[in-house]
Amino acid sequence: MEPTRDDDAVVELVDVLLRDGAVIGADVVVTVADVPLVGISLRAAVAGMTTMSEYGVLDDWDDRLRERAAGRRDDPAVDAGGPSGADSTGGGRDGDRGTRGG
């Protein structure tokens, strides 16, 4: 048999992405997903992803991403550099982290 890399497989992989991978532990690192706020909000969101795949919502992700990127390039008013202002992180965010966004 040959191995597959379909949408279901990618969704199954993302939990590994959040959990595994070389763990960096150095002073220079701002944070990894050890930070509870990040861990909780991301994990909760990922928990919903498996259900999404069952309903075919994962189809054509890349196409939509390209469309969205094209839309952003056409609209100079939209910040393309990181999380939008609509993304809240709830309480407890460390003020020393400075500006959100990437």
Partner: protein
């Protein structure tokens, strides 16, 4: 914080699959929020190891599920491209950000170079494959077969049928327990056979919790992460075919992935 680098994976810039690297395979790749990615390090100042990064200002966080999905897909896409370019990388956990500029990344790479090289060597030429096994036997069929082959279960069945109501209830509990035990043993046999099937090809196997599998395809038996040479992928598939031919199971075989489950702790 002024300036940071989002780190996707660590690589051997000379290639980690036994052949030459092909850095052009990384060119034009974009990561989270379409950020352009590039290789940092790779020279003597980074002790010969490199990191695939993009420039950012902070860690990424969001409550927006759709945005998170796009980020995760982008992360995985970049690691894929890095694998095409540099061979087996050491994937880094999602949302790992190093504070500082390229020099900071290079300095850090130099400080952990030995561990990184060791980690890269452990996955050299390999990919991760995932194998999910379900037992497809019908529950009633199994019970009928077990009554034929297991004397204890057969005796308990007879005793239950002959007993009065109260005693019959108690014996019935013993019967159920014995049947459960036999089921667990059967699942264990199928699990052992699955591990044996992949062991001949794998450099390393990491067994996950099969109970995390959904039960739509049958009774969960095994959830394996397999680190195997990419050149042996066909052989791995053949061994899984043999396993499926010999046992009442279905197998879902995914990959090749970068070795996410086999990246060691670094730094």
């Amino acid at each position: 914080m002024t300036g940071a680098r989002y780190v996707y994976c660590l690589v051997d810039p000379a290639g980690n699959d036994g052949g030459d690297a092909d850095p052009d395979r990384l060119a034009g790749t974009t990561g989270l929020d379409d950020a352009p990615v590039r290789l940092v390090g790779g020279g003597d100042d980074a002790a010969g190891v490199g990191a695939v990064v993009h420039d950012c200002e902070s860690v990424y966080d969001t409550d927006d599920e759709a945005r998170l999905r796009r980020w995760l897909l982008a992360h995985q896409r970049v690691v894929d491209a890095a694998t095409e370019a540099f061979g087996a990388p050491l994937p880094v956990r999602f949302d790992t950000v190093i504070e500082g500029d390229d020099d900071a990344v290079v300095g850090w790479l130099a400080s952990v170079a030995d561990a990184v090289r060791e980690g890269l060597a452990s996955v050299a030429g390999c990919r991760e494959y995932r194998v999910f096994v379900h037992w497809t036997a019908d529950a009633d069929d199994f019970e009928a077969q077990a009554r034929e082959s297991d004397a204890r279960l057969a005796d308990l069945a007879d005793e239950r049928n002959a007993a009065s109501e109260g005693r019959g209830f108690l014996v019935g509990k013993q019967y159920d327990a014995r049947l459960r035990e036999l089921r667990r043993a059967r699942i264990g046999e199928l699990d052992d056979a699955a591990r044996e099937a992949v062991a001949g090809v794998a450099r390393s196997v990491d067994a996950g919790d099969p109970d995390e599998l959904d039960a739509d395809d049958g009774v969960p038996v095994a959830s394996l992460s397999v680190l195997a040479p990419v050149d042996d992928e066909e052989r791995l598939g053949d061994r899984l075919d043999d396993y499926v031919d010999a046992h009442p199971v279905t197998v879902r075989f995914t990959g090749p992935w970068a070795p996410y489950s086999f990246a060691p702790e670094v730094g």
